[in-house]
């Protein structure tokens, strides 16, 4: 830890400014919590995007432990006009990981703020700090015999609820729209003031984690996917463990079945018959969880249709694979199961696979785990599909209509194939929308393929944008392009808020395309 290097400076910050800020930060936190060596900063620089690590290399990383320290840090950063990039658990794989949006920013690492402040088993709520991981919360619930379930993203264990919710990530249970299940925040603003949203500002209130809206303008949303404050506490709702749980899969054999799948299942989702954020995963997504692509195709470019047909035949996966679950009393589950099986039967296609049939096999097993908020990393198999560690999530929002999902699928596939890349796609079904999530996988050790992936991602954004489709979230290499899709007025309002709340622009400049 003793190999100091020339600091990587944030844009517009002189070496003197930067060193002065670091000196005061050492005074506040102690030298051991101001990380500047190459060895210490390397883990913060590892990204999966097409941009080189160097473009997102932090100038330093600082480790805060308390709200008061966060206040002190922001005071110093304001004095020296030096920006910080706050992270919670520092994951966000395929969206930028722990690295700052632009080179030189100081990572404000909140991992050590990892207290589970409260879990209320009666009201089924939790209040946690940003460094808490899903695994930590899962362990806590188990150790204390609290029968509550989490909802988490696929890399559930090392990610955490605060970071995932603030980036408006999703999970796979009935609580899968995570921001909808968030209740109350504590936010340190750039001027050091501490805001508690919702009911949190009411003296002696005990309703901070049970009523989202409070009084007056609802503010929590402006602290998600933004750079207006540092969230230091967040409330969330947890799901009571149901007496009965029935995960199931429905397998479809043709790519064209996507229209029929959506038209068959959408009414069941909107009516709450299928209560969870279920998924419709394509053949390569499904196969990636269990095998590398090289088992069937060892060449470059797009995986041939013949290989995909073989995979379907030999590995027992469909062209599309639905994963959903039922929750409740056994009687409730049985009633809804009958409704769903009848609807699918009437549609004329689709083969059900139950837990009894699947047993301990993947990918059913990990899907069943995710739909009950258990810990798994099986979906990391996506990253070995093609190898090389390159991944960028392209995630346009789609109406939950069959014609729309088909149009988006075909457009994405044609653009990806143009660049020699595979369409590895999944639809996560929301309340009325679908998150169409495409993992743009590429070999990051191959400069040509990385360049192609970069160009491909830009084209995906622009071509989808021309048709009125925009992403719900994007990696830190394409934030400007994504923000542009939402129009100039939205961008201007974002900036006005930034100027009002953070006039020196010290918080995560560039996050979601927002600069002071």
């Amino acid at each position: 830890m003793t190999d100091p290097i020339q600091p990587t400076l944030p844009q517009g910050v002189s070496a003197q400014q930067f060193e002065a800020a670091l000196g005061k930060l050492r005074g506040l936190l102690g030298a051991d919590r101001v990380l500047t060596s190459n060895e210490q900063l390397t883990p913060y620089s590892k990204v999966m995007m097409s941009a080189p690590d160097e473009e997102h290399r932090p100038g330093a990383a600082i480790l805060a432990r308390t709200v008061e320290e966060v206040q002190g840090i922001l005071k110093i950063c304001n004095e020296h006009k030096t920006p910080v990039w706050p992270i919670s658990t520092g994951r966000n794989f395929g969206y930028g990981s722990a690295a700052p949006g632009t080179r030189g920013q100081i990572v404000l690492d909140l991992k050590h703020m990892n207290k589970i402040i409260e879990v209320d088993p009666v009201l089924c709520t939790a209040l946690v700090e940003p460094g808490v991981t899903y695994q930590q919360l899962w362990n806590y619930l188990k150790e204390n015999d609290i029968p509550l379930w989490l909802s988490c993203p696929a890399p559930s264990t090392i990610a955490g609820p605060v970071g995932n919710t603030l980036d408006r990530g999703v999970g796979y249970t009935p609580y899968g729209e995570h921001f909808m299940m968030q209740c109350g925040m504590e936010v340190v603003l750039a001027d050091g003031s501490v805001l508690r949203t919702g009911m949190g500002g009411v003296e002696k209130s005990n309703t901070w984690q049970v009523f989202k809206w409070g009084y007056g303008p609802y503010l929590d949303g402006i602290f998600t996917q933004s750079n207006y404050g540092v969230v230091t506490k967040m409330g969330l709702w947890l799901m009571p463990a149901p007496p009965a749980y029935k995960p199931f899969s429905i397998r479809y054999e043709s790519t064209d079945d996507i229209e029929l799948i959506v038209e068959t299942l959408r009414p069941l989702r909107i009516a709450g018959i299928i209560p969870n954020a279920f998924v419709i995963a394509n053949v390569m997504w499904e196969a990636a969880a269990i095998i590398p692509r090289s088992k069937y195709y060892d060449g470059n470019g797009v995986t041939p249709a013949s290989a995909l047909a073989e995979i379907q035949k030999n590995e027992g996966v469909g062209a599309w694979n639905v994963y959903a679950a039922l929750y409740g009393t056994p009687e409730q589950v049985e009633v809804n199961w009958n409704i769903i099986t009848d609807a699918v039967k009437k549609s004329g296609k689709g083969r059900f696979i139950t837990e009894e049939e699947a047993g301990n096999t993947e990918p059913f097993k990990y899907r069943a785990q995710l739909m009950r908020g258990d810990m798994t990393l099986q979906e990391f198999g996506l990253y070995r599909w093609r190898g090389g560690g390159g991944s960028m999530w392209f995630a346009p929002v789609s109406q939950a209509k069959g014609s729309e999902t088909k149009a988006q699928m075909e457009l994405a596939e044609s653009i990806l194939n143009e660049y020699g890349l595979d369409y590895v796609g999944e639809f996560i079904v929301g309340m009325r929308d679908m998150h169409h999530v495409v993992d743009v996988l590429f070999d990051r050790s191959d400069p040509d393929e990385t360049k192609a992936a970069h160009e491909c991602f830009g084209k995906l954004l622009s071509e989808f944008g021309k048709r009125g489709y925009a992403v719900y979230r994007v990696n830190t290499g394409f934030m400007e392009e994504a923000a542009d899709l939402y129009g100039p007025v939205k961008r201007e309002v974002d900036q006005r808020l930034k100027r009002a709340l953070d006039p020196n622009g010290i918080l995560a400049p560039g996050k979601s395309g927002i600069f002071v």
């Binding site: 460094g131 090392i158 269990i290 009894e356 993947e362 097993k365 810990m375 099986q378 990391f380």
Partner: protein, 122 residues
Amino acid sequence: MTGIRPRVLIALAPALILCACGSKTESGGGSGGQKVTYLGKESIPKDAAQMVFEQTCMACHATGVGPVITGRDLPADAVKLFVRNGNRAMPAFTEAMIDDATLDRVAQIVATSKAPASQPAQ
């Protein structure tokens, strides 16, 4: 365990592709149609290093996602290097995520681990 040559590290790279966490959710079934069951608090290790090993490393390296790392006499220093730097699809782990002292012990656990009975020789 010091002085590892770069060539050795390159050779080890595929062996340490992925490392991340997961719970000890397991199935009591197999493919015989039994109900899937889930482990509770008894599955949570008390020791911090053992917890990282079981809930983090093994979530990928014992599930077929990442390559097998147990029972391979991997040098502890190489394990630490890959944990801190990541490698391709394997994420990097900062010292805020796992401190140096715990990482030392995790690396020893990996280095001295035995291969599971069903693990093919590598």
